[in-house]
């Protein structure tokens, strides 16, 4: 009889939907049906039972081909290279559970290298702004139950967080929002007329890269200097700025969800810190919160796990052995890659091969490259060693942190068929590095 699993977590975006229903064949090896999940999540569960998945590590041979080796050999290869490297870098962690992230902290503490996660190329600028200015936020349930004004600024949930609008922000009927969408005003601020803008009541078409001016204009209005605005700011007419500012000031409970439109554009963290300043201004007259649209289902996890381990969320320099250091312009993955400061790269739960700018990939590739990932990806195809592992939420469970830092327990639905989890693999590597350190001491 096929087994039906309820309340399964979806390991894709920061929504970390936990209402998925998965039907699995009676031998536990095949996903037969997936319900309640978006098309992207569906593909992850289908991919989990693909026949094309690698079940053993593969080591690059002198002729350039990849040959299967045992887990023991892969662990030995990785530990030896980590022990020899002066400044190895382990990067990724968007797609693994918190247990794996804690084990990775142990490996890099033993190896004395650098530890970084995908925040560095994603919401890292948000962290920088939060350090400067604070983070007046809330959980997603607060938005569902209270919010009557929703602003998506530089984010496009219709494409990046497909069930965000239907689970948390616009469409659900909450405790104080019983009329659902009808009583919520939705504003989308984006240079493109996105599919999210298509759902919104108001689309503010800002000039790309000029969000800072627009925030400045909103803050001027909040401070009572709206009359001094120029006729047009960042391509937005003054009348529209005044109109949106009035909606914001009259909100009972408002939330700004922002994304890569702010963190990837000119200004980076300063776009976020002025957004947070606007929240402070708005909270004098209304109730406002802000939330980063975190990307992967557990990219909030490393921030939390490494904060309680080392006190820093990302860009960790552990080379000094007994104290950690963090300074993103100096200790971030891309900056270190571009200055050729690392001599070994471990790609785990991400795909730096596809998602780093290609000059950074070219620098990293000068040195040994290990990929720890369930799937074939660009990183696995240029690495010296590819170690396949369980997919969190499919072959293994664990804790993940949603975009609002709410921990969710993910479930295992498939038989891992001999695959190690990230946690098991990394602990074995750490054990071996500890042995080598003891021998060398």
């Amino acid at each position: 009889m096929p087994k039906v699993y309820e309340n399964v977590g979806c390991p894709y975006c920061g929504c970390s939907c936990d209402d998925v229903r998965v039907t699995v064949s009676d031998d536990g090896k095949k996903v037969l049906e997936v319900e309640n999940v978006c098309a992207i999540g569906t593909e992850i569960f289908k991919h989990g039972s693909s026949e094309h998945r690698h079940r053993l590590p593969r080591l690059r041979q002198p002729d350039g081909s990849m040959k299967e080796i045992s887990y023991e050999e892969a662990i030995e290869w990785t530990a030896q290279h980590l022990y020899k490297a002066k400044k190895p870098l382990m990067y990724g962690f968007g797609s693994t559970n918190c247990e794996g992230q804690a084990a990775a902290a142990r490996v890099m503490e033993s190896a004395g290298g650098c530890l970084d996660n995908c925040a560095t190329i994603c919401h890292g600028p948000s962290f920088l702004a939060i350090f400067d200015n604070g983070y007046p936020t809330c959980t997603l349930g607060e938005v569902k139950n209270r919010a009557d004004v929703i602003v998506y600024w530089g984010s496009n949930p219709a494409h990046a967080h497909p069930r965000h609008m239907s689970r948390y922000s616009i469409f659900p009927r909450g405790f104080f929002t019983g009329k659902g969408q009808k009583k919520r005003t939705v504003v989308v601020i984006d240079p493109r007329y996105t599919d999210t803008a298509n759902v919104a009541d108001i689309h503010v078409r800002v000039k790309q890269g000029h969000d800072y001016e627009l925030f400045d204009a909103f803050r001027m209005v909040m401070h009572g200097h709206g009359d001094d605005l120029p006729d047009v700011v960042a391509d937005v007419p003054k009348e529209q700025i005044l109109q949106v500012a009035e909606i914001m000031a009259n909100a009972r409970f408002g939330t700004v969800f922002y994304g890569m439109g702010l963190t990837h554009s000119d200004g980076r963290n300063h776009n976020i810190d002025i957004a947070i300043s606007l929240m402070r201004d708005l909270n004098k007259v209304a109730k406002w919160t802000i939330m980063a649209m975190r990307g992967h289902y557990n990219i909030a996890g490393p921030g939390v796990v490494w904060s309680w381990t080392f006190g820093f969320p990302y860009c960790l320099d552990l080379t000094k052995k007994n104290y950690a250091h963090m300074n993103p312009g100096e200790t971030s993955s891309v900056d270190m890659a571009m200055r050729d400061e690392t001599d070994m790269f471990i790609n785990i739960g991400t795909d730096a091969g596809a998602h780093f700018p290609i000059p950074a990939v070219q620098h990293l590739k000068k040195h040994p490259w290990v990929t720890i990932d369930p799937s074939v990806c660009m990183a696995s195809e240029i690495s010296d060693l590819h170690i396949p592992v369980c997919i969190c939420g499919v072959d293994t469970g664990g804790i993940v942190y949603r975009m609002d830092n709410v921990p969710i327990q993910f479930r295992q639905v498939l038989d891992p068929q001999g695959l190690l989890t990230d946690e098991e693999l990394l602990n074995k590597i750490a054990d071996r590095v500890d042995e080598l350190n003891a021998q060398g001491a």
């Binding site: 894709y12 098309a39 992207i40 593909e43 992850i44 991919h47 094309h52 560095t120 190329i121 994603c122 890292g124 600028p125 920088l128 496009n156 219709a158 494409h159 990046a160 497909p162 240079p191 493109r192 007329y193 996105t194 599919d195 078409r205 790309q208 890269g209 890569m260 439109g261 963190t263 990837h264 554009s265 000119d266 200004g267 980076r268 963290n269 312009g329 971030s332 993955s333 891309v334 900056d335 890659a337 571009m338 795909d351 091969g353 596809a354 998602h355 780093f356 700018p357 290609i358 000059p359 950074a360 990939v361 070219q362 590739k365 799937s375 074939v376 990806c377 660009m378 195809e381 240029i382």
Partner: protein, 137 residues
């Protein structure tokens, strides 16, 4: 095309790109989803580009051949968009403004018609960039 016309490039998500990525980065779905540039129709006319033909995109840090289309999520004249992924990252400048985050959105590019040029696969681009490509050029 006498004068040089600079466009402002952004690289962002798309639903199709997310689905294709989970099917696999070496799949035909990923190839179809990500090797396109979305442009404004006025810009395409100005640059002599026909819809659904290949173009060469050049930035300060690289170049890539992609297919020019008019996207449903419209861009204003002067703005263009490649979905995030292998093709986009051939031209994304790695400069981080000392924050660790590269210039994924808002960098200058030139776009020129290249209807005879072939589109390269993801593997060809990435392995080619690091000297590991063993297939045909």
């Amino acid at each position: 095309m006498a004068e040089k016309y600079i466009l402002n490039m952004i690289t962002q998500r798309a639903f199709e790109e997310g689905v294709a990525m989970e099917i696999g980065k070496t799949s035909p779905e990923y190839f179809d989803a990500c090797n396109i540039i979305e442009m404004n129709e006025q810009d395409m006319k100005k640059l002599g580009i026909l819809k659904n033909t290949n173009v060469r995109v050049t930035s300060e840090s690289g170049q890539v051949v992609v297919k020019a289309v008019v996207g449903r999520q419209t861009v204003y004249p002067g703005l263009c968009h490649i979905r995030q992924g292998v093709w986009a990252n051939q031209v994304v400048p790695p400069r981080t403004q000392s924050t660790g985050t590269p210039q994924y959105s808002g960098f200058p590019v030139t776009v020129e018609p290249a209807p005879e040029e072939k589109l390269k696969t993801a593997l060809h681009l990435v392995q080619g960039a690091v000297g590991m490509w063993k297939g045909e050029e």
